[in-house]
C-alpha cells in the first residue's frame, strides 16, 4: 500500500538532479526486493528503454546550442534521462503494486467521499474494456475501407470520425447501463457504507514507508545543505 505513497511523493518531488533521481531509483529497487517483484517490474520496463534513449538524445541536442563544456553536457543529458526514468518507474510501481480497489479504500480512509473513490476505481476498471472496444471499432472500419494512416491530415481527421462516433455512442450507452446496474445494486442507499475487506498496513508496508522516509530525508538534507551546488 505504501508503495503508492512512494510513487506519489516521488512524482511530486521534482528534485531534478542526477543524484536525487538515482537515489529514487535505488530506493525503488530496494522496495521492489521487498515486494519480490523486481524481475517482473524490470521486464515491464524494457519497453521504456528507447524512450529513455530518446530523452537522452533530445536533451543532448537541446544543450548543444549553449555549447558548454562536453563533460557538463553529458552530465545534463544523463540527468534528464535518469530523471525521466525515475518518473516512469514511479508510475510503474504505482500501477503494478496498487490495486485500484485498494487505492479506492485508501481514499476512503482519507475521508474522501465514496463517490469519488468509486469513480476512480470504475475509470481504471473501464480502461481496458474501452481499449478493447476501440480496437474492435478500428478493425471494423478498416474492414470497410477506412485507412487511418493514409492521406493528408484532413483525410485522417475524417477517418477518425469513424472511430470516435461509435466509441462515444457506445460509451453513452454504457454509462446508462452502468447507472442502471448501480441503482439495482443499491448504490448510495446507506449513509454508512461497510467494507467487506479492509486494508491494513503489514510489517512490510511499514518497512517500505520507513525506507521511503529515509530516502526522502537524505535527499532533502543534502539539498538544504547545498551539497550539490553548482550542479544542475
Amino acid at each position: 500500500m505504501s508503495f503508492l505513497v512512494t510513487a506519489l511523493l516521488f512524482g511530486e518531488y521534482w528534485g531534478g538532479m542526477l543524484t536525487v533521481s538515482s537515489t529514487i531509483i535505488l530506493t525503488q529497487l530496494l522496495l521492489l526486493r521487498l515486494a519480490k517483484s523486481a524481475r517482473y517490474m524490470l521486464s515491464t520496463m524494457r519497453g521504456a528503454i528507447p524512450l529513455v534513449a530518446l530523452v537522452f538524445l533530445l536533451s543532448l541536442l537541446g544543450v548543444l546550442e549553449s555549447a558548454s563544456a562536453s563533460g557538463e553536457l553529458l552530465y545534463k543529458a544523463s540527468a534528464s534521462s535518469i530523471r525521466f526514468l525515475a518518473f516512469l518507474t514511479s508510475f510503474n510501481i504505482f500501477f503494478l503494486t496498487t490495486s485500484p480497489d485498494e487505492f479506492g479504500q485508501l481514499l476512503l480512509k482519507l475521508r474522501i467521499p465514496y463517490v469519488y473513490s468509486f469513480t476512480f476505481v470504475a475509470a481504471v476498471r473501464l480502461a481496458p474494456v474501452i481499449a478493447d472496444e476501440a480496437q474492435e471499432i478500428i478493425d471494423a472500419q478498416r474492414s470497410r475501407g477506412v485507412e487511418f494512416e493514409k492521406g493528408n491530415p484532413l483525410k485522417r481527421l475524417r477517418a477518425l470520425v469513424g472511430l470516435f462516433v461509435p466509441l462515444l455512442i457506445n460509451s453513452l450507452r454504457r454509462a446508462y447501463e452502468m447507472a442502471e446496474a448501480l441503482e439495482v445494486k443499491c448504490f448510495g442507499a446507506s449513509e454508512r457504507r461497510t467494507a467487506y475487506r479492509e486494508i491494513r498496513a503489514t510489517r512490510r508496508d511499514i518497512l517500505a514507508a520507513v525506507m521511503i522516509l529515509a530516502a526522502l530525508t537524505l535527499v532533502l538534507t543534502a539539498r538544504s545543505m547545498k551539497l550539490f551546488t553548482g550542479l544542475p
Binding site: V121, R174, K185
Partner: protein, 280 residues
Amino acid sequence: MNLAIEVSNLSFRYAGAGQWALKNISLSIEEGEFAVFTGATGCGKSTLFKCLIGLIPQMYPGEYLGRVVVKGLDPAQTPVSRMAQRVGMVFQNPDNQLFALTVENDVAFALENLGLERAEIERRISKAFRMMGIEDLRKRSPFELSGGQKQRVAIASILALEPEILILDEPTSSLDGATAKKLLEELGEIRRREDITVLISEHRLDLVVREATRLIVIEGGQILADGEPREVVHQLLKDGYERVEPPKLSRLAWMLGFRGANSIPVTKEEFVEKLQGVGK
C-alpha cells in the same frame, strides 16, 4: 397462490420518443413461477422489466399510465434501492454490471452499499457463491473470466441481496448454446430450491422451455400471447407467427400432424413418447 407481480393497463413512452414502448400491458405473475418473456430485440421486454423495479419512471422519465404492484409495493413510488432488496435484476452485459476488481468484492458490493455487518455479508456472499457454483472464482478478477463465468458472478451479486423475485434480461445472449443451457437449467433449479419467482427474457425457446411454467410473447410493446408454454407454442405454430421461433421439435411435430393444443410436444422426451405411441 399469491401474486408476485400485477401489472394493469401499463403504457409507457420514453420522454422525447414518438412511439409508445409499452401499450396497455396487463399481466399477473404468481409466486414461484418461471416466466419466460420472448420477442424480437426492441419489442419492449427490457422496458417492462425496468418498470417492475422502478428504473422506469424513476431513472427514465416519460409518460407513464396504468399501475404496477410488485410484492405489495408500487415501483413508481418506492426508491429503487428498496425495491432491489425484494426484486433482483440482472442485465444482459456482465461487463457493465461488475464494478470491483475481485469477484468476491463484486458480490459483496450491493451489501456494502446497504451498510450490512461484515458477518452478514460473509454469510450472504458465501451462500450466493454456492448457489452459482463459483466458490473457486472468489479471489479472481472479473476481467480474466469467460463470458459464462462473468454472467454467473453478475447473478451471484444479485442473489446476495436475497431477492424474492429474480429478473434476468437476456442473460444468455452473449453465451454459446451449451453454456446458456447449463445456466438456464441451474436457474430453474434455484427457483425450485429457494422458492424464488424468476422472470427471464430469452429467445432460444428450446433451451428454456423445460424450466418455464409460463411463456409470454411480446411484440411492439404489446402482449401477443401469454400462457402455459405448450399452449403458447401451439398458438405460435397455429398462427404461423414468424418472428419468435418455437422449439424446432414442436415445429417438426406440427408438420408431422401432431397438432393438439394440449399435446404438442415441446421437449425431446415428449416427442419420443408421442412417436412410441403411434409408430412401430
